[in-house]
């Protein structure tokens, strides 16, 4: 799952290496709110899930682990 997440992030922000930069995506300004929307769309398509709109919060997109947790939560 982590690899797929990294692929999605890299597609949206190719200038960052998400294998080494694993957190602080939003707080460090690597992702903005429109990147988040693109990530939601890609994750929903890749994992065939629907992410609750109320979960689209910066903290759920701030690290690889937060994204993995979000996917797991949306899958349950």
């Amino acid at each position: 799952m982590k690899e797929k997440v990294i692929t999605i992030l890299t597609e949206i922000r190719p200038e960052f290496d998400f294998n080494t930069e694993t957190d602080g995506f939003v707080s460090k300004g690597m992702l903005d709110s429109f990147d988040i929307i693109s990530i939601v769309s890609d994750i929903e398509e890749s994992f065939n899930i629907a992410i609750d709109g109320a979960q689209i919060l910066p903290e759920n997109f701030d690290s690889i682990q937060a994204l993995v947790d979000l996917i797991n939560k949306s899958n349950s």
Partner: protein, 342 residues
């Protein structure tokens, strides 16, 4: 109901070079958000121009008798002047009588519902039989062309809704909430008395996402507004279901404000409302015209059918203020419902 839209149309894909992002990024975002066409008023066109044009159309077509009007309520965020109220200007341009009350309300995307609340109160006085509710904005003039957060969303236009008492005893239920602690999540910082416009407030600066705008432009904290909508609107709908002891199957249509395709899809998903009951095509086709989107939604999506049928509808608006509102309404057959170009 009548919708008046400026003829001038702009297309997102024609403007993506204005933005400080790659074409690929912008194209992808456009697809997700549903950015398509927007109706934008020509420079010099004001809210009163659009409203007067629409009102004269109704008079000319014998759809509205000028003498029957008791009040004019205008909901706008882009008035012709600081003062007088634009509704007074409209009344004057239409030569309405001195007994006609006119007033402006400063509201945005929940402005149809707030305007209806005011109209209902006026009808309840017993001395007014017919209220003209005008919703109109030319807010595109206050949005930076280089702001990808807001420019692709905005649309201009006006709607005219004629409201009168009916003999139907079906109740109209309304829920409205406001959170002034988040008032500045959506704002135009300069131009009022707090911060008058100066050459300095007009200087474009780049935000951390690469958008360029000035203090004279609309600024939206997109993530805050998005989360507010996704949290507060479903809560309010549930409150309505619980209070009125109905469920989501009660309504034939959910005619909501349409800020963008993505946001409304997420709302429908969360509330498990079938997409066919919640039309989601206004922002893509015309842009987000603030308080006009709900009545425009009626004209665009159920207009013809509503001339011969009655529908149970849930109106919903949410935006600047922050304000959010829903209305349960058995919409009787409409006398007219169309869209015209200005």
């Amino acid at each position: 109901m009548l919708s008046v839209l400026p003829k001038h149309e702009v297309h997102y894909l024609d403007e993506i070079d204005n933005y400080n992002f790659t074409e690929k990024q912008s194209a992808k975002l456009g697809k997700i958000m549903g950015y398509g066409s927007q109706r934008i008023a020509e420079d010099g066109t004001t809210v009163s121009d659009l409203c007067v044009f629409g009102m004269n159309y109704l008079f000319k077509k014998d759809l509205l008798d000028k003498e029957s009007i008791g009040a004019v309520v205008l909901c706008t965020q882009s008035p012709d002047y600081f003062l007088p109220a634009t509704s007074n200007v409209i009344s004057g341009r239409l030569a309405l009588g001195q007994d006609v009350i006119s007033m402006d309300i400063n509201q945005g995307c929940a402005g149809f519902e707030v305007g209806l609340m005011q109209a209902f109160m006026l009808l309840n006085t017993g001395s007014i039989d017919k209220v003209v509710l005008l919703n109109a904005d030319v807010l595109s003039k206050k949005v930076s062309l280089k702001d990808r957060n807001s420019r692709p969303l905005v649309g201009d236009g006006a709607t005219i809704t004629i409201i009168e008492n009916s003999t139907d005893d079906e109740e109209i239920d309304m829920f409205i909430k406001m959170d002034g602690s988040s008032a500045l999540s959506l704002q135009i910082p300069a131009g009022g008395f707090k911060l008058p416009s100066t050459p300095q407030t007009g200087v474009l600066t780049e935000d951390e996402s690469g958008n360029f705008r000035s203090l004279d432009h609309l600024i939206m904290k997109g993530d805050e507004v998005f989360n507010f909508v996704q949290t507060k609107v479903p809560e309010m709908i549930q409150e309505m279901f619980d209070t009125l002891k109905i469920d989501k199957s009660y309504f034939d249509y959910y005619l909501f404000h349409q800020p963008n395709k993505f946001m409304l899809e997420k709302l429908a998903q969360k509330m498990k409302i079938p997409y066919e009951k919640m039309p989601n095509n206004i922002s893509q086709k015309y842009g987000n015209g603030s308080s006009i989107t709900v009545p425009l939604n009626v004209c665009e999506n159920i207009g013809e059918k509503a001339l011969n049928n009655s529908y149970k509808v849930c109106f919903g608006g949410f935006g600047v203020g922050l304000t959010w509102s829903i209305i349960k309404w058995k919409l009787e057959k409409l006398d007219f419902c169309e869209i015209i170009n200005y």
